[in-house]
């Protein structure tokens, strides 16, 4: 009895003393939490005192091997810990949006560990467990399609862990030149990932964040001054005689070798606020160039088709009938309508006397410049100018009638009919509109242009696909003029109209993304397809060129499995599925399709990560450690909130709870005392 009292009193006293010590200023969580104390996501402090230790540095080496129009890039990130603590290193880095990241190698001393592809949550759990067990581990996650994170756990004091990441990408070819882009800087974003449903209550918003798979997790960016240690080597085997090679923003060393050219950039004071861009041109630009390659992987065959139309300069401008449809609903108010007016005027100015045109504006109602498209002459240009300057943004968004009107006017023989549809608006009757376009589009091509921060991208993309045109999305209003200029230039020069592909042996191909109806000068077509079996014979392409029928047969060249065509196909397929996911497709189904593709083809995606874990426990139990994020360069001209986040919770609630607890405890003590005294 007496012992029990003694023990319980001691306990109460200790806990009260503890409370006092705690209330007198001890922080609720130590700044140097041991690694074991944390779980789940990676950790980074943003308070000023957290910047005190800066032991971690990441040195990046890039090696690109270019074969034809495919680049195989090796990125080596050496995480050096100069401090005397164990460190978990975190590094955010940019890659091009269609990079197929397929391998991770972690180099520890003489050993190299190969990373495995796993479902993101599983990979993160395995990584977290290895981290807490004191093993060395690394993980590569995709934060956004063009931004990745590497984390390396348990880097010993005064040591270095190297991580090599490899990826494949097709090199874009535009306007007679190839451009390899190796991103060095990340643009800080405030709004990462998928947007939230405007109608969703806060609880749903919270759930979306907790579920990091949604891509709504915040962007872990930390940027630094613009000069960095960079070492880049490019081995260029273009596969054709190269005209010129140039680095756009950096001074490089260049030399010829057996395979082609070798380009090198290295040093400690490299300006990293611009991406590294290398451009090269073929020595002779010929007529239509086509190439087809196939790679057999297991039962499937993957094909890459490249169709390069003739150069823009020597291609005659095709006579066209262009109908501009412009959204003048209330939401276009302000800069949007001004930009749209300027873009429209630009489109009219670029028309030639052999073209015909019309303008239709719509809001709740619609009206048009002419009853039917008119030839381009001085008087029609003046009328158009007056019509454009009178455009005001007001009212609702009724798209159906103007679209129907534009598609239903009888076509002019010999003119290529194009509809340019400029809007920022949202619609509720998407399915009905898509059905209308499918039914009435005929030989017309529909090009949709979304202006502003939140156009209904899904609808505009689907509409362009149904209309066999393309979709231009202009988020930044400052870009409207230049992007529209590009679009109009392209629309003037269709090199090949009504393109059709006929696979050999009547094979049905699964193309990674929709094949457009026309091919435009300076804008080659790259098609990635999966075939049920190896094709024998030729691929036939047909269409119309300069008013004549055009048929072309291409021999399909077999290439080895190292070519990575299957991975490029899978990456493009994932990108296409992700777009559907973003634009509101069936979530579960798309997620599982992406997951299957990524696991099968060993690719990092929004649902999969590469993870490498060592068997050896290196960090002694109980040793102190912390997390650091290595800085990434910011591009020129970006702005930041400098102060970070203030502490926006008062201790009022805590004080109230503690106060009430103390009073209760004190009261309880008094009560037991008085009872004891009464008893004795």
């Amino acid at each position: 009895m007496c012992l029990f009292h003694l023990a319980s009193r001691a306990a109460v006293t200790v806990s009260i003393v503890g409370l006092f010590a705690w209330l007198s200023g001890a922080p609720p969580a130590s700044a140097h939490e041991p690694l074991e104390a944390r779980s789940g996501t990676l950790y980074l402090k943003s308070s000023p005192d957290a910047e005190a230790y800066e032991a971690l540095r990441v040195a990046t080496t890039m090696q690109a091997q270019i074969t034809g129009n495919v680049a195989r890039v090796h990125v080596t990130q050496a995480f050096s810990n100069a401090g005397s603590d164990w460190v978990e290193g975190l590094y955010v880095f940019p890659l091009s949006a269609d990079a197929a990241v397929d391998e991770l190698f972690m180099k520890i001393g003489e050993r190299t560990l190969r990373g495995e592809i796993q479902e993101k949550a599983k990979a993160q759990a395995a990584y977290a467990q290895a981290r807490s067990e004191g093993k060395q581990a690394s993980i590569v996650d995709q934060e956004r399609p063009n931004m990745f994170t590497t984390a390396v756990a348990n880097i010993a004091p005064h040591s270095t862990v190297s991580v090599e990441i490899t990826y494949l990408e097709t090199i874009p070819y535009r306007d007679s030149r190839y451009t390899l882009r190796l991103p060095l800087a990340i643009t800080p974003r405030y709004t990462p990932g998928a947007g939230l449903d405007p109608a969703a209550p806060l609880a749903a918003a919270n759930a979306a964040v907790v579920n990091a798979e949604d891509g709504t997790s915040a962007t872990p960016e930390r940027v630094t001054a613009s000069r960095q240690n960079v070492d880049i080597t490019v081995e260029l085997a273009a596969g054709f005689p190269v005209g010129s090679v140039a680095s756009l923003h950096h001074v490089v060393d260049m030399k010829d070798d057996a395979l082609g050219k070798q380009i090198h950039l290295g040093g400690s004071q490299i300006p990293a606020d611009h991406d590294f861009e290398l451009v090269w041109t073929p020595a002779a630009a010929g007529d239509v160039e086509t190439a087809a390659f196939a790679e057999k992987v297991g039962d499937d065959t993957f094909a890459l088709i490249v169709l390069t139309p003739p150069n823009a300069a020597d291609e005659a401008i095709q006579a066209r009938e262009v109908t501009f449809i412009i959204d003048t609903s209330g939401s276009m108010q302000g800069p949007s309508i001004e930009q749209a007016r300027a873009a429209l005027q630009l489109g009219i100015d670029r028309l030639t006397p052999s073209d015909r045109f019309n303008i239709i504006r719509f809001a709740s109602d619609y009206s048009s410049l002419f009853a039917v498209p008119q030839p381009v002459d001085a008087s029609s240009r003046v009328l158009a100018g007056q019509f454009i300057s009178a455009l005001r943004a007001d009212g609702g968004t009724e798209m159906r009638a103007p679209l129907e009107r534009a598609m239903s006017t009888p076509p002019n023989v010999g003119l290529l009919r194009q509809i340019v549809f400029i809007t920022d608006g949202s619609v509720g009757n998407e399915a009905e509109l898509i059905a209308l376009i499918n039914r009435q589009i005929g030989t017309t091509r529909l090009f949709t242009v979304g202006i502003g921060a939140a156009p209904n991208a899904y609808f505009l993309e689907q509409a362009a696909a149904a209309g066999r045109g393309s979709y231009t999305f202009i988020a930044d209003r400052e870009q409207v003029a230049s992007r529209m200029q590009d679009l109009f230039r392209k629309l003037e020069r269709p090199a090949l109209i009504d393109l059709k592909l006929l696979w050999p042996d009547d094979l049905t191909a699964e193309v990674a993304a929709n094949v457009p109806g026309d091919v435009y000068a300076g804008d080659p077509l790259v098609i990635l397809a999966r075939l049920p079996r190896s094709p024998s014979g030729h691929l036939t392409m047909s269409g119309r060129m300069r008013g004549n029928d055009w048929v072309h047969q291409v021999q399909i060249t077999r290439v080895g499995e190292q070519s990575g065509l299957s991975k490029l196909w899978a990456r493009e397929r994932i990108a296409d599925l992700s777009r559907h996911l973003q634009f509101g497709g069936d979530r579960e189904q798309l997620r599982s399709s992406i997951l299957d593709l990524a696991l099968k083809h060993h690719l990092v995606s929004e649902f999969t990560s590469l993870v490498a874990i060592d068997d050896v426990v290196v960090r002694p139990p109980g040793s102190s450690g912390h997390v650091e994020q290595a800085p990434t360069s910011a591009p020129t001209g970006s702005y930041w909130a400098t102060t970070g986040f203030a502490k926006t919770a008062t201790p009022a609630g805590l004080l109230l709870y503690c106060g009430l607890l103390c009073i209760t405890l004190g009261g309880l003590l008094c009560w037991t005392r008085s009872r004891r005294q009464m008893a004795s």
Partner: protein, 210 residues
């Protein structure tokens, strides 16, 4: 034999009981003071604000104040809509008195992103119920009324997120701690509310669209 330890324990118990009750009272009154200060300061600052707007005195709310009101932030429309005086500089002391403006960001109502932080359990407790489409007003010292509409509500991890200050139009970014209900302060999550400038015409147009 048992007398001595009994005395010692008894005294300790008495001291502990009194100390606990005293500590409890101190804590509870401290908590009450935090809330009282938050309301009282807003009233004093509001009075100073009206003095300065009327041109009859300084916007200094009390003689030893080292901050001044920058704008009035109103949630919704009408006379009963909650309104707060926004202070310049997001220090802990300012946050005790009202929502505070990050001086590195644009001034509220001007072109650019204006970042305003507030305590989750006093002034910005009402952000718990905010949703996309809600209207906010900022009244500047020059009596200009700027209307904003909430375009985004999200939760970020403050250890990883950053706020870009670049915006072509006037934009408000309201920041408070999240979740609202935890007892211990210091959670790394933040609720971030973004509101973009709207003109009167746009507001009508939005209501017209289905």
């Amino acid at each position: 034999m048992t007398y001595l330890p009994h005395i010692a324990l008894g005294d300790l118990g008495k001291i502990a009981a009194v100390a606990a009750i005293m500590a409890g009272v101190v804590c509870v009154s401290e908590a009450a003071w935090i809330h009282a200060k938050a309301s009282l300061a807003q009233a004093l600052i509001g009075a100073a604000w009206r003095r300065e707007q009327a041109g009859s005195g300084s916007a200094q709310p009390w003689p030893w104040a080292d901050t001044r009101p920058l704008a009035q932030l109103m949630f919704g429309e009408g006379a009963n809509a909650p309104k707060f005086m926004v202070l310049e500089g997001s220090s802990g002391r300012n946050l005790a008195f009202g929502p505070a403006h990050d001086p590195a960001s644009a001034a509220p109502g001007e072109a650019g992103n204006s970042v305003i932080e507030g305590h989750r359990d006093t002034h910005f407790a009402l952000l718990r119920d905010i949703k996309v489409g809600d209207t906010l007003h900022v009244e500047t010292l020059a009596s200009r009324d700027v209307r904003f509409r909430v375009t985004n509500v999200r939760i970020v991890d403050s250890r990883r997120a950053r706020i870009s200050l670049h915006a072509d139009i006037p934009r408000l970014t309201l920041v408070t701690c999240y979740p609202f209900d935890t007892v211990v302060p210091g959670d790394p999550l933040r609720l971030i509310v973004t509101a973009d400038h709207v003109t009167a015409d746009q507001v009508t147009a939005v209501h017209m669209e289905p």
